[in-house]
């Protein structure tokens, strides 16, 4: 863990409100997006994120500083998202439901590092996003952790509490499913 982050956590342990805010700002987008991928709904993602940060800050004294903080944080977030899904027995949303997803208070952020990219979700992107959202939540969570957070297979396994082999299999299945669907639609 980097020194800056270690120092931030130490300040949070002293109940420094500014440190709380800094920690939340640093991880809120990642947590919200993981929750969004897992729940398929922005309101649920916000609820999960709020509960995640409250739980993290209240139980920070139990965190082992020898382990990566973000793995611990995302593990709490994914457990809360799964709890919420279990409570509501929600199924992944269909592509047709996309577009009505974004409620008040949520805006798309810059998806990539390209200088002129900005936010550009054209029809092809929207279709691809729709295909991704048709995947089971557990697959979407893995894809998010791998591609947006650049987690290693080991980190994904620890975060989601699944065996390493399962991570590998699900990643393969996710790629294969997307490839087949893209082929069926005549795009790659």
């Amino acid at each position: 863990m980097e020194t800056e982050e270690r120092d931030l956590i130490r300040r949070c342990l002293t109940r420094d409100e500014r440190a709380y805010r800094e920690l939340i700002r640093r991880y809120q987008t990642a947590v919200v997006n993981l929750a969004w991928r897992m729940t398929g709904n922005v309101e649920d993602a916000a609820e999960v994120s709020q509960e995640t940060f409250i739980r993290v800050l209240r139980s920070l004294s139990t965190y082992d500083p020898e382990r990566p903080f973000r793995t611990w944080l995302f593990k709490i977030a994914s457990n809360l998202a799964l709890d919420l899904l279990r409570r509501r027995k929600r199924r992944p949303i269909a592509i047709e439901d996309l577009g009505d997803e974004e409620g008040p208070g949520f805006e798309p952020v810059d998806p990539g590092p390209g200088p002129d990219e900005g936010l550009r979700i054209d029809r092809a992107d929207a279709r691809f996003e729709g295909l991704v959202r048709e995947l089971p939540e557990s697959y979407q969570a893995i894809l998010f952790l791998r591609y947006k957070q650049e987690f290693s297979y080991e980190e994904i396994a620890e975060t989601l509490g699944i065996p390493l082999g399962t991570v590998k299999v699900r990643l393969h299945r996710a790629h294969e499913t997307l490839r087949r669907k893209l082929l069926a639609r005549g795009t790659t």
Partner: protein, 212 residues
């Protein structure tokens, strides 16, 4: 030339290969197979394209209220707990000190105000209560003689019980026993609150009692 890796086995490893998660020997075998197999080469190219698009998936931003709500939730509880703990500590310390002081000074206060010995107060209260009950029964014109045996039995029980508070008060009035009981009680209460699981011991009731 194809290696002995089958296309199915190769496909299963393609995403792990893309992520650099394969053992070098397996990765080498896979590369050899892909070089020789057009189908697997196309699949790998497709996986690469998918990986690029996955890395560019749009993200949503966190709601603006998230930060303030979380900070509000985690900051209010400890503050309220500190205030509550401090108030409780002060109240407990005051009431404890008041009780000890009352026990120590009660005989003198009673003497100064011309009241009977405090050790006799419980007996006096019980007697007064019984007298009151009998007077109330008489006012209701009830047949007191009928109730007299019962009244006598109650009176005998009270006489037996009155020895208990009297003995306790007399014991407490001796400086050694009274002091020992006060110190023991203080330490017991202080230890209980000092040792109970709490993130912040400062400002707890244990500290207030120990400071007494």
């Amino acid at each position: 030339m194809r290696t002995n890796l089958t296309c199915e086995a190769c496909e299963r490893e393609l995403s792990a290969y893309l992520h650099g998660a394969l053992h070098p020997a397996v990765a080498g075998a896979l590369e050899s197979h892909v070089d020789a197999c057009r189908r697997c080469r196309l699949t790998l190219a497709a996986y690469r394209a998918i990986a690029e698009r996955l890395a560019e998936l749009p993200e949503i931003s966190a709601p603006a209220w998230l930060e303030s709500r979380v900070v509000g939730a985690v900051s209010v509880r400890p503050r309220l707990r500190r205030i509550w703990s401090g108030g409780l500590a002060a109240a407990a310390a005051l009431s404890f000190a008041g009780t000890i002081g009352l026990i120590a000074w009660l005989p003198r206060i009673a003497h100064d105000w011309g009241l009977p010995d405090p050790t006799l107060w419980p007996v006096a209260v019980l007697r007064a209560s019984l007298d009151g009950i009998i007077a109330f029964a008489k006012r209701l014109a009830l047949d007191v003689t009928f109730y007299e045996p019962i009244a006598r039995q109650i009176w005998a029980s009270i006489r037996a019980l009155e020895a208990l508070p009297r003995a306790a008060l007399l014991t407490l009035r001796t400086p050694e026993v009274g002091g020992a009981v006060a110190i023991g009680l203080t330490l017991g209460v202080a230890l209980f609150f000092a040792l109970r699981p709490s993130r912040t011991h400062q400002g707890g009731i244990g500290h207030a009692c120990l400071s007494l």
